[in-house]
Amino acid sequence: MKGLRIAAIGLALVAAPVLAGNKLIPAGQPVAVAKSVLTVTPSVEWNKLGARPGRNSETWTFDGDALNDLTFYGGIEPEQTLFREVSKRTKPLPRVKATMLVTDIPTLVENSYRIALDTPLFTVEGMEPMAFAGKPGIRFTYSFTRPNEDLPRKGEGRGAITGGKLYLITFEAPRLHYFDAGVAAFRQVANSAKL
């Protein structure tokens, strides 16, 4: 009996990843993301992580979020931050503003990352207009390095502001191999976005 109980406890510990809520996203089916009306249809399987960067966001990955990180931000309202603040008191994050233009989205991402990751090594490489879910939107590319890590990372974002709310999808991965390997799957997901 006692052995059974130990086995049960052991099983509970082994089953911990299930409790973390990571989930397989099947290919070819429309799925609503980031607790919002934003819907995408991936053409390959992704893994959804149980941990969310913020209230209205969610992260998908192939190999773990350190290697490829696709994050959806679904309708961030004015005066809200992009993701959870590290410290509201000492390191407050910039907030979405009602007056924001789509060209201000890359700056919001840049400043939020600089503060949250504590790194000045973040550069917006370029931006161009590109429709997002049928709305006038923006596509931008960036590069950054986390502190205490010499690994250069690349990122790409697609977003729009509609009804005063910010919708955004970002993909980031190490510049070496992982970005180029995963970016096509990200672009397919971003192109399939519907609001």
Partner: protein
């Protein structure tokens, strides 16, 4: 009671053994200095490893002119023979800080360079860090900490309810604060000996306090300046440092050279990028204070441009009006950076002044035809792109 007796016995044994320190007579900055004791060797080994990591970090600013200038100031301040034992690394980080490891690696943050006003202040900062190195502070603090840790461990075994550990922990932190004060005064002596203006050392701390107040007010927090250091503080308060440095500078603290022009010339190529890093911190109050300090009543085009960016990024409707004014003032004062027209256009557009905003963005694209955001700006003007 038992705890105190044990403590006294152990402290006597430990500190007594360490009193002679068995250190080599050579100073640590000497040529090919080899650390002698096992503790010192260990610390140097760790520091060497940290230095190898830092040396390859993308955060290090490798510009030869900037690095040569810092080395020159350090050498003037502490002397040619001493400064050869030090390698200075400028690290890109928009906060006020500098540090020193026992093996002679000095790290200066770009945020510190942005906040210093003249060469005398830079010399005070470098002299302070050199003081830690010269007096082997890391080693002394490490040994002291270990002895205190031993005493606490034995006391808790032999006399579990003793209050001794709390007072020993306090002793440890106050020892670290004493080291900081010692390095401050050492830096001040170097400053005076090199002919720099001694009062420069205290001014750094006075301005830093004012900036922290501005940051707190900008974030709608209470201003919480402390008059005495907290229990766990490893540095004296800024107020204490400003006060004892001003007193130590003496009556003729203003006498001496501050080499302001040489400092400003060395920093000129860097100020724009240091400022850009600063205003991306979402610290409106602190950044606004810093810009006002740097301007000192004379707003130059680069400071006006940065102030425009700061206000535009906060982005309240009234901020957008102010931002547009600052960009316009920068342009009127002779700013030729196309970014000014970009900022002006974006502020006006966000402030719903469409026609004027589009005109400014057009000027931006005329002045920067190769801009990486050209297509996005053209979309805002209404020329092509996906609407």
């Amino acid at each position: 009671m038992a705890g105190w007796i044990i403590a006294a016995a152990l402290a006597g044994a430990a500190l007594g053994a360490g009193a002679s320190d068995r250190l080599a007579p050579l100073p640590p900055y000497g040529t090919a200095y080899t650390p002698t004791t096992v503790d010192e060797r260990g610390l140097w080994q760790q520091a060497d490893e940290a230095e190898r990591d830092l040396r390859d970090s993308p955060a290090v600013v490798r510009d030869p002119a900037l690095n040569a200038y810092l080395t020159k100031v350090l050498c003037r301040s502490v002397g040619e023979d001493r400064c050869r034992g030090v390698r200075i690394y400028v690290v890109r980080a928009p906060v006020f800080n500098a540090s020193m490891t026992p093996n002679g690696m000095m790290v200066v943050y770009t945020g510190a360079l942005l906040r210093l006003r003249d060469e005398a202040e830079l010399a005070a900062l470098l002299g302070h860090e050199f003081g830690h190195f010269e007096m082997r502070h890391t080693l002394a603090s490490f040994r002291r900490g270990r002895t205190i840790g031993d005493i606490i461990a034995w006391t808790s075994v032999l006399s579990p309810y003793s209050t001794l550990p709390a007072s020993l922990i306090q002793l440890h932190f106050s020892y670290n604060r004493a080291q900081e004060a010692e390095a401050d005064l050492m830096g001040l002596r170097y400053l005076a000996a090199a002919g720099y203006r001694p009062l420069a050392a205290s001014r750094i701390w006075e301005r830093l306090m004012a900036e922290q107040d501005a940051t707190a007010l900008g974030r709608k927090r209470h201003v919480t300046h402390r008059y005495s250091a907290g229990f766990f503080a490893d540095h004296p308060t800024e107020l204490a440092r400003a006060t004892y440095l001003r007193e130590a500078a003496g009556a003729d603290g203003e006498r001496g050279d501050d080499s302001r022009d040489a400092f400003l010339t060395a920093m000129r190529p860097w100020r724009a990028s240091f400022l850009a890093d600063q205003i991306k911190l979402n610290d409106f109050g602190g950044s606004e204070y810093l810009l006002g300090e740097l301007a000192g009543g004379q707003w130059t085009p680069d400071l006006l441009l940065t102030r425009g960016e700061l206000y535009r990024e906060r982005g309240n409707p009234r901020d957008l009006v102010s931002a547009a004014q600052f960009y316009q003032q920068a342009i009127d004062a002779g700013c030729t950076d196309p970014i000014a027209w970009r900022g002006l256009g974006l502020s006006l557009l966000r402030g719903q002044q469409e026609a004027a905003g589009r005109a400014a963005l057009k000027t931006y694209l005329e002045r920067a035809p190769q801009a990486s955001d050209r297509a996005a700006m053209a979309m805002l003007i209404g020329e092509g792109g996906v609407q």
